[in-house]
Amino acid sequence: MTKVSSELAARMKAMEGFNAGACFHCGTCSALCPLGYKILPRKLFRQVMLGLEDEVRTNIPAIFSCLLCRMCEVNCPQGVHIAENIRALRSLINRQEFGLQ
C-alpha cells in the first residue's frame, strides 16, 4: 500500500511547464520510447501527480537516461509536453536530492 500525498504534486504544479493532467494513458509514449523504459513517461508522471515520492526516487536513473528525443511528445494525442515535464522533474530532483541549485 502506498500513501498518496499531494505535496510533491503541488511542488511540481508550481513549476513552470509541468503538465500531465491531460494524459489519458494510451501508452503511445511507452511504446515509442527508444530506450524501452516501461516507466517512461506515462507511469512516471502519474507517480509524480499522486505524490509517490519513493517510487519516483527509485526511478531516478530512468529519469536521467531519457534522451529528450521527443519521439513520444510529437505522437502524444493529448499534447502533453513530455520533454518539458522531464526537464522540470530533473530540476526538482537536482535541488531536492542532490542539493544542486
Binding site: S6, A9, G21
Partner: protein
C-alpha cells in the same frame, strides 16, 4: 370447407434469395391443381411495381376472392401486399402472407428437394387459411385533440409546450407542489454551465402564458379507461378533489429517482461521505472556502458508477446493470465547479476521481478534458477490486487499486468522498397499476423498439418521454419528449385512427364469466358486461392487440382471434401434414 374459393397463389423468387434453394416453379405447379386454387404462378420480385400491377390485373380478370403470396417475412411486405389487394378490389384481410425466405430458403440452403417440399407444405397451409378468410373492416376511431402529460419536469413541460404549439390542448399534471422536477433542483449543468432552476423557470413561465395548457400541481392520476384516441382519465387534486378529463393520448414523463446507496456502500453513512446530489447542494451553498466539519476541505475523492453497472453479489441481489449516462459528465463538471471554488477562495483542493470508464460521449468530452486540464486526477479501478472508504483519524481513507499504475494499491486521505450516484426507476406502484406500461428488465418503462420506436409503448396512445424510459441527460430527455410529441401529434392531428380488426371475439352464449381471460390479458382489453341476468366477458376491440393470451385459458373455448381462428389454424395444420398423414 364450405364453398369453393377462387384463390390466387404467387410464389416469389426474391431474385434468387428463394429460388436458389427452393424450386419455386415446382411449388407453383404443385399448388396449381389443388382445391380452391384458381391460378398459381411465380414472380421474380413480387414486390416490384410491375409484378404488383400484373397480380392486380389477374385478380380483377379472374375475379379472385383470396390471395396467397409466398415471399419474404411478413414484417417486410405483408402491408405492401395488403395494400395491393385493396387496390385490386379485394379485402386486405383475405390476403395471406407465407414466409418462404426466412422460414424456408435461407435455413435450408443445402437441401433443395427438402426445401422445395417444405415450401409446398407452407404454401398449402397458406391456401388452407386463405380459404377460410372473410372480409374484415379496420376499426375507425375518432381521436380527441387533447393530451394528458404526466410529470411537469423538463421533459413533460417541453412536451406540453410543443403539443400546445401544434394546436392541441394539454393537461399537464405534477405530483409535487412545484413544477420543474430534478432540473429545478440540480444547480448548474454541464457542458454549457446553464442553471437548472433557470431552465425550469423558463419552461414554467412559457407554460403559464400558453392558453392551450392547463398545469395542475399536487395532482395524481387515479383512473384511466378508454382507448387510443379517446381516454377517460381521473386526476385527484390535493388528495381530495377529482377532476375528469377526456384526452386522445397520454405522455408519461414521470422521471427517475437518484440511487440511494446502501449503508456502508463505499462508506455511505460515514461523516463526509455524500452523494453527488448532496455535494452539488454543498457547492451551491458555498460562499468562500469549501469547509467540512469546520475545516477547509483539502482532498476530495469521487467514486464513479455508484448504483450503476452493478454486478450481482451477496450485498447486491438485484443489480442495476445499466449505465446512468449523465453521472460521468455531471461528476466531471462538478470538478470544474470545485476548481472554481478553489480559485475564488484561494484554497488548494486536490481531486481524485476514481472511475471505471469515463463515458463523457460526444460534446461532453470537453467537460472531462477541462477537468483534467485543471488538475483533477483520474484513477481507474476494476470492479473486481472496488475502492474502499474507511474512517481514518477524523478524516476518510480511500483505498483503490489504480489499474493505470499496474494495479498499485493506493491510499488517499480525503475530507470528503462524493459518490456519483446514478438513476433508478421511480417507485410509482399506483400509477403503474393504472397505466400498465410494460417495464424493461432494469425497471424503467419499456419502449416498443429501442431503435425504431423509442417513445411508443405497448399501450396504444400512450408514449413515454425523458428518464421514465431510462437514464438520460437533459438534452436527451428533451429530444425524447419531442419525439413523443411527434408521435402524439401524428395520431391526433389526423382526427381518426384505423385499428387492426384482428382482435378477440367472445361467444357470449358460451361464456360464463370465470375471469380467466380478464387475468390473462396484459392490455386490459377484457371487461365484464351483463346480458340480461348473465355476466359475460367482452373484448374491447380498440384495446385488444390480437395477442391471444385469452384463447387457451378459456375453459369454454368461447374466444377466437380474428385472422387466427381455431378452424383456420386446424386447417393449416391439416394441409401441411397432408402428405405425411394420408387422409
Amino acid at each position: 370447407m364450405t364453398e369453393e374459393r377462387r384463390i390466387g397463389v404467387y410464389v416469389c423468387h426474391c431474385g434468387g434469395n428463394i429460388s436458389d434453394y427452393v424450386d419455386v416453379k415446382e411449388v407453383a405447379e404443385t399448388l396449381a391443381g389443388e382445391a380452391n386454387v384458381e391460378v398459381a404462378s411465380t414472380h421474380l420480385f413480387a414486390c416490384s411495381d410491375a409484378s404488383q400491377q400484373e397480380m392486380i390485373e389477374q385478380i380483377r380478370e379472374k375475379n379472385l376472392d383470396g390471395l396467397v403470396i409466398a415471399s419474404c417475412s411478413p414484417k417486410l411486405h405483408m402491408f405492401t401486399f395488403r395494400a395491393m389487394a385493396e387496390r385490386a378490389g379485394l379485402n386486405p384481410y383475405e390476403y395471406v402472407h407465407v414466409n418462404l425466405r426466412e422460414q424456408c430458403s435461407w435455413v435450408h440452403k443445402g437441401d433443395r428437394p427438402g426445401a422445395t417440399a417444405k415450401g409446398v407444405n407452407l404454401v398449402r397451409a397458406g391456401v388452407a387459411k386463405a380459404a377460410l378468410t372473410h372480409p374484415l373492416t379496420p376499426l375507425r376511431i375518432e381521436t380527441q385533440p387533447r393530451v394528458l402529460v404526466i410529470g411537469a419536469g423538463a421533459a413533460g413541460m417541453r412536451a406540453a409546450l410543443a403539443l400546445a404549439d401544434m394546436g392541441l390542448s394539454v393537461y399537464i399534471i405534477e405530483r409535487e407542489s412545484e413544477p420543474g422536477g430534478w432540473t429545478a433542483k440540480v444547480g448548474r449543468m454541464g457542458p454549457d454551465n446553464r442553471s437548472g432552476p433557470e431552465v425550469a423557470a423558463n419552461l414554467f413561465e412559457r407554460i403559464r402564458e400558453h392558453q392551450h395548457i392547463a398545469l395542475f400541481t399536487d395532482a395524481e392520476l387515479t383512473a384511466k379507461s378508454g382507448h387510443i384516441g379517446d381516454f377517460q382519465v381521473t386526476v385527484r387534486l390535493r388528495g381530495e378533489e377529482d377532476l375528469s378529463l377526456n384526452v386522445g393520448a397520454i405522455i408519461v414523463a414521470t422521471g427517475f429517482e437518484p440511487y440511494r446507496p446502501r449503508a456502508g456502500e463505499y462508506g455511505f453513512g460515514l461523516p463526509g461521505v455524500v452523494t453527488l446530489q448532496e455535494f452539488r447542494r454543498m457547492l451551491e451553498a458555498c460562499e468562500g472556502p469549501l469547509t467540512h466539519n469546520g475545516r477547509p476541505v483539502r482532498d476530495v475523492g469521487f467514486v464513479y458508477c455508484v448504483g450503476s453497472r452493478q454486478e450481482e453479489g451477496e450485498d447486491c441481489p438485484e443489480p442495476n446493470a445499466h449505465c446512468s449516462r449523465f453521472c460521468c459528465m455531471a461528476t466531471s463538471f462538478s470538478a470544474s465547479l470545485l476548481h472554481e471554488v478553489e480559485r475564488k477562495s484561494n484554497q488548494t483542493i486536490n481531486q481524485y476521481h476514481l472511475y471505471r470508464d469515463v463515458r463523457t460521449y460526444g460534446r461532453l468530452e470537453t467537460v472531462y478534458t477541462q477537468a483534467r486540464a485543471d488538475g483533477a486526477l483520474y484513477l481507474r479501478w476494476d470492479p473486481a477490486s472496488p475502492p474502499r472508504v474507511e474512517p481514518r483519524d477524523d478524516r476518510l481513507a480511500v483505498t483503490v487499486k489504480d489499474t493505470l499504475l499496474g494495479d498499485e494499491e493506493l491510499e488517499i486521505g480525503a475530507d470528503l468522498v462524493v459518490l456519483a450516484t446514478g438513476m433508478v426507476p421511480r417507485q410509482n406502484d399506483s400509477l403503474n397499476d393504472i397505466l400498465k406500461i410494460p417495464k424493461s428488465k432494469d425497471g424503467f418503462y419499456n419502449e416498443i423498439h429501442i431503435k425504431l420506436r423509442p417513445v411508443e409503448t405497448a399501450i396504444d396512445g400512450v408514449c413515454i418521454a425523458g428518464t421514465a424510459q431510462g437514464p438520460k441527460n437533459l438534452a436527451e430527455s428533451v429530444a425524447s419528449a419531442l419525439a413523443a410529441v411527434a408521435r402524439t401529434g401524428a395520431l391526433l392531428k389526423k382526427g381518426f385512427v384505423n385499428l387492426e380488426p384482428l382482435v378477440a371475439k367472445i361467444d357470449t352464449g358460451r361464456c360464463v364469466w370465470c375471469g380467466e381471460c380478464f387475468n390473462a390479458c396484459p392490455y386490459g382489453a377484457i371487461e365484464k358486461i351483463h346480458i340480461g341476468e348473465k355476466e359475460v366477458a367482452m373484448a374491447i376491440e380498440s384495446s385488444c392487440k390480437g395477442e391471444g393470451g385469452c384463447v387457451p385459458v378459456c375453459p369454454r373455448d368461447a374466444i377466437v382471434i380474428e385472422g387466427y381462428r381455431d378452424d383456420q389454424i386446424m386447417a393449416m395444420i391439416d394441409a401441411s401434414l397432408e402428405e405425411a398423414v394420408p387422409a
